[in-house]
Symmetry: D2
Subunit: 347 residues, 4 copies
């Protein structure tokens, strides 16, 4: 498969650039009979909007989602769901300072190296606007999962080392960085409740392997961990093993959850915990040394409205990618046993 499709069963194909006429997504493999409206999707879409606080860009992006296929009389039909958001803000602008220069930390140089040329108007395909398709698809996955009793909770755990929930400390920290014309990164955590035991495969399609790819496929993510994550490298087995115990109803539970809900790549019924580390936004107004398309050394200072931090806006993207992954493996797992298949077909 070419590189803009995610998922093997619940399949998501995003398309569109920041400065083209529109961005969108096709979701193929969504089961028939799920109630779905544009409002269901807009709720998640709005969580990734900028302009929600003073540290994200003040552009007005309405990002109104439109469903073009796959829903009939308020229900999914089982056929591809095509969704689109028009790019309202793609008026002709002055790109002269970036069209010819490789911005540090951006994909400008690597796009040229790969494709021979690039759409120099903003991030092109690497723009944050590509995530609109992910969130629209994620909203459908989340709705389907909810009907199965599976819910997702996600938040900015840390921003630049500051507790993401401590608004006062955060505001102070971000003000200081903005004054220095700098940018910051952070960590997003997603916890998935209610996942039945048994999802994920024991070898390459492990639940954690799929989540790792999902997270690392988000622009700016440089690290992913499950459960105790990197801390396990310094733990000992007697601490790190989660002891099983039977609850009053005879169900198998765990006394701790260092494993983050996954053992041997397969969910164990406890919460799945995944974290992604985001690098600081590469667009900064400070002057930086770099190279132009003619491979001459130059300097660049990136003007314009740029988020000094994208972590809060990325929370819903992390959640969407997690939802898509769990949905995909939930479908995959239906093939695991002959008994399950025979029961399904009533044989």
């Amino acid at each position: 498969m070419a590189g803009s499709t995610y998922g093997r069963y619940f399949t998501v194909t995003t398309w569109g650039e920041s400065h083209g006429p529109a961005v969108g997504v096709v979701v193929d493999g969504c089961p028939a009979g799920l109630s779905l409206t544009e409002e269901d999707i807009q709720v998640l879409m709005d969580r990734r909007k900028p302009g929600q606080n003073k540290f994200t860009t003040q552009r007005k992006e309405e990002d109104e989602i439109q469903i073009l296929s796959g829903v009939f009389e308020g229900k999914t039909t089982g056929t591809p769901i095509s969704m689109m958001v028009k790019n309202k803000d793609h008026r002709s602008a002055d790109y002269s300072n970036i069209m010819n220069v490789y911005r540090p930390g951006h994909a400008d140089y690597t796009f040229d190296a790969k494709y021979g040329f690039r759409d120099y108007r903003g991030g092109g395909r690497s723009s944050g606007r590509e995530t609109i398709g992910r969130v629209a698809a994620g909203a459908i996955a989340e709705k389907a999962l909810k009907e199965m009793g599976i819910t997702l909770e996600s938040r900015a755990l840390e921003i630049g080392g500051v507790d993401g929930a401590d608004r006062d400390a955060l505001e102070k920290y971000l003000q200081a960085q903005m004054a220095k014309m700098d940018s910051v990164g952070g960590i997003v955590e997603c916890v998935i409740h209610g996942v039945p035991a048994g999802l994920g495969d024991p070898v390459f399609e492990k639940m954690d392997a799929c989540l790792a790819k999902a997270m690392m496929s988000i622009g700016a993510v440089k690290g992913v961990e499950i459960g105790d994550g990197f801390q396990v490298a310094r733990a000992v087995g007697s601490q790190n093993n989660d002891c099983f115990e039977a609850d009053q109803n005879g169900n198998v539970t765990k006394k701790t959850n260092h494993a983050g809900g996954i053992l041997g790549g397969i969910t164990d019924g406890s919460d799945i915990i995944v974290r992604a580390a985001f690098k600081p936004t590469p667009s900064i107004a400070q002057e930086q040394e770099t190279v132009n398309r003619q491979h001459e050394n130059v300097t660049i200072s990136i003007k314009g409205r740029h988020d000094p931090v994208v972590v809060q806006r990325a929370v819903v993207v992390v959640e969407s990618m997690a939802a898509l992954t769990v949905m995909d493996l939930l479908l995959a797992n239906m093939h695991s046993t002959m008994d399950g298949i025979k029961k399904f077909y009533d044989k």
Copy 2:
């Protein structure tokens, strides 16, 4: 695709359990004309052998690789390469203490939850022996990459927090843990040299996303990072951005490599740096609380020869998965431009 296949172009399918007659792998999509002998593969195979130091299991595992297809007169033919290693050590043993009990930190419970029953003789499909197939396939990928000037270097960066290169400190630390009947984890790092700029796709098939999945698909890995990894979450943009500069030959290089060789999911021509965090081996002789198949609370103490640490043996597995990933994206990248395709077909 079912869950035992890795890669889209250079495709690897592993099979086999620890206590079946054999384990093996089929590599499909290997280009024709690569010189290949069983010795080429055995070199990497031997790096994952136990018994190389006193802290790994003393079992004699010869693990002699056999090529069954796809090589003719010393060269790959372009058709599937089937390789197999016989399991010599699968004599009937006494599994009575584990066949009925869910070992903490192992996949016993999750296998039962998924498949309704499990091969209780050792790790089954989750055994470390499954990695034999990965390493055999990785050896082929590494050989092909070497012909392209791409080489991989990997090592145990940390074991239980101790510098993996400090043998004295390490021996002391491991002795202490063994005395406590405990086990330890660690961090493996792989650096990939000579990768041309342009590999990887900008959206879901990012080089880093693919590496993340590759690493997290290895049993016991709970975290993955690229370049500065989790540290980026506390860095600022002006530090974290790698400035480009042109060298004397007019080639684009970077002054630093915080990005670990990947920008926007696409390689930038500098070294790719990836790290994986391994949890402590779950098999420990200490008594642990757990549950049996009847969902009764019991205790278990795991006897037998178990590695208190698998990190050193896992180094070559990390390297193999990295090689498979780079090889796959090297092939994928051949489709990137019309000019490249026309030059290939001489049009």
Copy 3:
């Protein structure tokens, strides 16, 4: 992958129903640097338009294609190309006679059996309008192939047993069938010139296997053949084998082409010849016996503007599917030899 995606490298995902707001397609994996305009695509689109002769429906379908992404400054960027055609003719109509009844020869019953309900406004996802996406994608493939010296030629070989090129006989035959309120089928042939030897794989991804799937995935196709096709079943080897001969330049050619350009699944450099048999349009005004959603026996007579024959309109669909298939295997073949890869990367 879910079922609306075709191709492994040059990947096409169609979406949309006959009576939704639009139909469209996302083409992912198109190489960068191909000159492309909406006009390039419209040319093929216009070949599938109805109303081109008196035997196809007289509806006015403008079907104006719109490119929404993946093209910048007149060239493909290597990222997904999203294309869309608005459904102009989806005004509220009276579907009372079909919403509750299973039309013979249509997919009404099977959609209900699969999805639990269906979009009863026309063919839904099984409508001929789904092929708009195929043709738009096929136009891109055909343009790329042309730059490689590969061209496609296709035609209605037979319509209802009448020579598709004999307009007089054809008109007479079709008039007679229309007078009887009946419909007819036919055979479409596509010949592909200039395909280099070596495309296609020897086992499951044979060129002919891929073409067979491509053809049979077109609604109404019930048979596919390559070269001499079903006639080979009654031929003897000494006739059916194509003898090789060297031409003046020392190139390998064949004296005959019973094989239709494919040997062992791999192209041999001669013309590829593929034929598809189309069934008569199932919508006929004659009264037919059938069953309704309540599983009661009823009769139905299908009113409205329906093509008594779709074969001519399907010619460009056959050609598009053939172009997509050849393009896909052309890309796949770039991985066949180490020499080719090393030359590509200049090693």
Copy 4:
């Protein structure tokens, strides 16, 4: 995916050449809990053996199947099932007359064109022995399908135009062809009973499209048809449409089955009927004109034991490919509706 893997869910990867040490297959995605022994597989394997009548080669091929993984205590475990057959008859032989010459009707030339060289000892990867893996995998699929009430029946419908069931006429015809040192083709038909309505997707993954690929992926097949097949091209709609009717129990049935059990790509609950046309065996003892590797015109006469007809031996291969296809789409269909998924997970 590389080209030796078939199926998206029930995934089959074959490997091996006619003259290597072994041929085999890995089946991944087989549900856990299916009773399976080597005998189950041997039954189908024996149906493809040569030497069953005087017109097939008299070589003794024992072809004893060995299961190497994925089965524990007589049941499939849900993990990959690796199976292998040793090539007993690959003693060093004299290939001097074929190693340097392109046999007409064979893949010798196309292999060289694709891979730069080839395994010249017999058919290599294009050998009929590759089908051993297909049949072994097909035997598992058939066993699983049988538990769902789905059975397959297949036969040689025609051999060289002679009724495949008329042994006397057939013997006479084959004797005559052998006397002329010629070979013959034929038609194989497979009928699949008991398939529930709803399998297959409406667009690219139509049941008939998948069957067409499956059939055409068998060496020597040049045509595929479903139901009335090519005859539909000369039928009229009023004949070709199958009228529905409700039976006494209120189930939807069809009065006729011109459609071969598939409408709009989705099964309708009646028998699936598929036919494949096989070309005459290309290896004939008659002298043929051809070209050698140096591209010089030469003649060749192919000595040795060659089947003058492979149609009877191919029957079980057709059946196996059909079984694999139905099994795959049976699994795919489990994702079709939210109701089905919720029922599966008991929500």
